[in-house]
Symmetry: C2
Subunit: 335 residues, 2 copies
């Protein structure tokens, strides 16, 4: 199944709604609405109780919806198999997409050997030893997630080398801590696309500080268009992937060629801390999945499309630089 | 005022409750209970409506409570000035503390010149140029926050140089984006203590990867004991601070001597992203506020107390190492 989130106008203003996506039928099903129809039609609930139950089962927050564990897919399957989706569906091209998840924690791995080589070459840095001992990952700010068809805010302090990153996002569906690789995949609900936009020159400046990227990354993290559940993939390491800029293919490959496997990455992320429903863990950039590796960069107005087999296309448009923002005044050396 | 969170047994199991802390009276006031008593006694609400309203005004999540903006302190002040706290108070020494906030995003700055010098000396690294151009901060995992009196989980893969960090935590009370330094303090609700526990040898291994600390930090972030609102401090840069291990003073100083001011740090964090109610931004470690700077380290069973004037004492006990966890197998070089 495919789950997503859209924004609809309600009596209390714009409202996030959970949907099942049926691209082959050209529609999405508003689950809270379909669930209420199902509870009334099939289970003899009153309208008030049906709405209350359906909203509890199918909240607009993906993190909250996934918090119910297996209850979510069971309930959604029941509603749709009962054909209650027909009266609660919307044309897929007419909806406003929200980020596929609202991740409590947004992490991003570093697994593709091709990208590790290419990035270090272009950034003029040696691959550190410890990268072979420890799966690298970073934490990004979830306050900047955007969805399919969004305009990417471009802060004016990113003056050069604006970049995309072609990645998959593994969405956590179950709470866990220090899980082992052999059980790790049972904590993954599904896969989405993740574009981890990056200002390379600013990132170069942030790197020596040793605290991870901040302003070079935390202005936009695109997640979507929706989440495809794990059962729909034959081989998670052989998903065709592609990135296009203004319709031109800039990178193409598959999800294979990883230094650390997905189960190892998920297990490592969960070590000593909690992974929780809705969390998104980026796969890291596919080899050749950034403009940096090509010596190219994005410009305002560029249309960036990430595509992955079994998921779909995550499309975003680069906005115009936002000028007039404050920027800190350099300090004098003190050592 | 001082706001905190405690855990109480309810009909539905353990329940987080928002409290006003009155250390001088040796008590905490359960706000949802006091609010309901106030609504019934003073405003003629029915019991059911009073409970519904009080729970909406005073939820157990600090992030949710602060989301109401100025409504929170206004409502709490009204309830307490009406003396409705008396019938809803608990002895301060009898309660189970939760982390003072449940931060949507947990960030940690790097501002104290003394610590920057000491850390780089001990870690055998030069202070990078860009640290003088960009306020350094990192993002920590909010899934590992612990509160006052908690036992600190000690993952077995941290085999040496376990450390504390004596820090203040600035708690955000208002949503904002790209705020300027001159308005930044109106986004800060109050100040708490923050102990950013660190495994120094593992951190040394993680540093060259360039993605920020992960497993060397994300096993425990102590935040508490409670939050003191901004109006109670005379000078945020002259707060006396101290750290004790097993009753012995290991570090002592003040909140002065910063490379970047608090307004600059908050403004920088908000640049191009959103700061949201409940977010905690660590001040960075006070100069001399880590054992690393003394060439010392913590042992299992050690009692670590952070103290700050106007706030109080945040006490934690180091747990026993958790053995038997999975750890990744090193890869072969590929370059």
């Amino acid at each position: 199944m495919k789950f997503g989130r859209i924004l609809r106008d309600g009596l209390d203003g714009p409202t996030a709604r959970l949907v099942v996506v049926e691209p082959e039928k050209g529609r999405v099903i508003d689950l809270a609405r379909a669930g209420a129809l199902h509870a009334m039609g099939k289970r003899h609930a009153t309208q008030a109780a049906a709405v209350r139950l359906a909203q509890a089962q199918f909240p607009g927050s993906m993190a909250q919806a996934l918090g119910a564990g297996d209850i979510l897919t069971h309930a959604a399957t029941e509603v749709i198999q009962g054909n209650y989706g027909d009266d609660a569906s919307l044309p897929i091209d007419s909806v406003t997409w929200l980020p596929a998840s609202d991740p409590p924690v947004l992490r991003d791995g570093l697994t593709f050997v091709g990208h590790i080589k290419g990035w270090h070459e272009r950034m003029n840095r040696a691959v550190p030893d410890s990268m072979l001992r420890i799966p690298g990952f970073t934490k990004n700010s979830p306050s900047t997630v955007i969805g399919h068809n969004a305009t990417v805010p471009w802060p004016g302090y990113i003056k050069s080398k604006m970049d995309y990153e072609l990645e998959l996002g593994y969405v956590i569906g179950r709470e866990g801590s220090s899980v082992r690789p052999e059980e790790a995949m049972s904590y993954v609900f599904g896969v989405t696309l993740y574009n981890d936009f990056s200002g390379r020159d600013l990132q170069h400046d942030e790197l020596p500080i040793g605290m991870g990227s901040t302003k070079s990354k935390d202005f936009a993290h695109a997640i979507g268009p929706w989440i495809t559940t794990l059962d729909e993939f034959e081989d998670l390491d052989a998903i065709p992937m592609e990135v296009r800029v203004n319709g031109e293919t800039w990178g193409k490959g598959t999800s294979g060629g990883k230094l650390w496997s997905i189960p190892e990455l998920v297990a490592y992320v969960s070590l000593g801390e909690k992974i929780v429903p809705g969390d998104v863990i980026g796969s890291g950039t596919m080899g050749g999945g950034s403009a940096l590796e090509l010596g190219r960069e994005l410009s305002p107005g560029d249309v960036v499309e990430l595509e992955a087999g079994g998921i779909g296309v995550l499309r975003t448009v680069m906005g115009q630089p936002i000028e007039g923002l404050w920027w800190p005044t350099p300090r004098k050396p003190f050592m």
